[in-house]
Symmetry: C2
């Protein structure tokens, strides 16, 4: 099996940009052509509409991006039918050779973490992902079952290090021995990079670092020189393409070593012809990010 | 609607103990009488077996504990069928007047946090809980959608403050201005107690504080005088009943203000007659904890 880090980086070198598209079913924004009824969470028709919409999105993304990032929260609000839809969407991604970074932000102790790891990395897992976002507030020991499972499945992990929201400093930014908490975490993760290392020099033990804090992204890169970074905050959250790739490193074809995610700005463009507007938004993002990493 | 804090505390005063039973479907430990085939996650029969087992558990718990704590990770490993089983189990809990503390440890930014909040507190949510565990590493702003939703639904939140695992000090215990990170978080939460306050003097904006660190529980109580505490680590994880209630406060009938969780020690007793052993383990835990709060 080829390590997640290599699968991602090699594919991105072919494509020439680091865009990842988030699959976030905001029920109130699903385009008219796909909507069903009132789109309330408890209505089974809502899950069907979400599935139809994202099947179309996935087909339009195939061959144009390396990875997608389904946000499991929005599927969970639809109950088990939402999870069923997500399982089918993940299967379609696999057919279309899109890597799946499941944005679940899971984190729990011992046996429970192992449960999540089996849910998302197990060989026969109904919702098998290529990579998973995880939360390390509970402690580094709680990452071990995830690292073990990712290693066995040649998968990746993106640990929440410095997030893109305004309050991300509340805990992540508290100063300990002259350095913020998030850098202590980054350093501890950096020492474990080997566990999910690929042959490109990158490690699938990655970090989430918000595009809205480019200086922080550079500091995280120093602490985790081999890590892939997953960068939310580009697009609707206001960060520019240049800010989004601040934590990338120079490779043979340009800056690399991460994924820049956009969701709403691509999924829900303001236009009457959704399909054409989607394609145009996608092209704009890949062009912008392609230029930023050139 | 009666606030979660009051519903919990008033019920516990009737019962005389703070035991909460965790519903953790470890597939390899489901008793023989309920098992189906190999109990692998992808087999639909596994979800059916888990549902049958916990229906029986819930019926045995009715009238004997105030609350149960389903661990969603173990249901997620079964895919959408696991979530479907969990929805039915939560509905049964409601019929049996057991409060449901959904152990999901969710945490995400803005609109995504709102998605989770709708999933678990929405009026028509398929998986509606009375309270939810959440992770605040992303920042206090990320708790707001959860607090808003809990407030509207008269629900509760248990924020991960100091967990029961050996590595819980890695981030939670880092020292900032002479105090550990977890106490900075507890103080910030303490100032928001009013948002989910009940008439008993307790607030449903609670904290998770592991039974394995009783001294830490006392410090958290000072920072969050009105908070309910959810205490994992009693039973299989080795903490005593006295350690588990270290963060409780003296009320009219004894120590109160929290839930002490036990899962494996009650669900999976080592005995050939599962039903009798379950009842005996349950009685032992309620007696022990009842004596500890007397």
């Amino acid at each position: 099996m080829v390590a997640f880090a290599d699968r991602l980086v090699l594919r991105q070198r072919e494509l020439g940009h680091p865009l990842c598209v988030g699959l976030d079913p905001h029920l109130d924004r699903i385009p008219d052509a796909f909507r069903a009824g009132t789109m309330t969470p408890h209505d089974p028709a809502s899950a069907d509409a979400v599935e139809r919409f994202f099947m179309e999105v996935i087909d339009r993304l195939a061959g144009r991006v390396a990875a997608v990032k389904p946000q499991i929260a929005f599927f969970e609000q639809l109950g088990w039918r939402g999870l069923q839809a997500l399982e089918r969407l993940v299967a379609r991604c696999r057919e279309k050779e899109l890597l799946v970074v499941l944005d679940a932000k899971r984190g729990d102790i011992g046996s429970t973490a192992a449960g999540y790891a089996r849910a998302f990395f197990g060989e026969t897992a109904p919702l098998r992902a290529d990579a998973l976002t995880v939360n390390a507030y509970l402690g580094l020991d709680t990452l071990e079952p995830f690292i073990d499972a990712a290693s066995a499945a040649a998968g990746g992990l993106f640990v929440l290090v410095k997030t893109s929201n305004p309050g991300s400093g509340d805990l992540q930014g508290l100063t300990v021995d002259g350095r913020p908490v998030y850098l202590h975490l980054a350093s501890a993760l950096g020492t474990r990079a080997e566990r999910l290392a690929g042959e490109t020099g990158f490690s699938g033990l990655g970090a989430v670092v918000g595009a809205t804090y480019p200086e922080d992204a550079k500091r995280v890169r120093e602490a985790m020189p081999e890590a892939l970074v997953l960068v939310p905050g580009y697009g609707a959250q206001g960060a520019s393409a240049a800010q989004a790739v601040a934590g990338f490193v120079r490779g043979p074809n340009g800056l690399e070593g991460g994924l820049v995610n956009a969701s709403r700005s691509i999924l829900f463009p303001a236009a009457s012809d959704w399909g054409a507007a989607f394609d145009a938004s996608l092209k704009q993002a890949t062009d912008e990010l392609g230029a930023a990493v050139a």
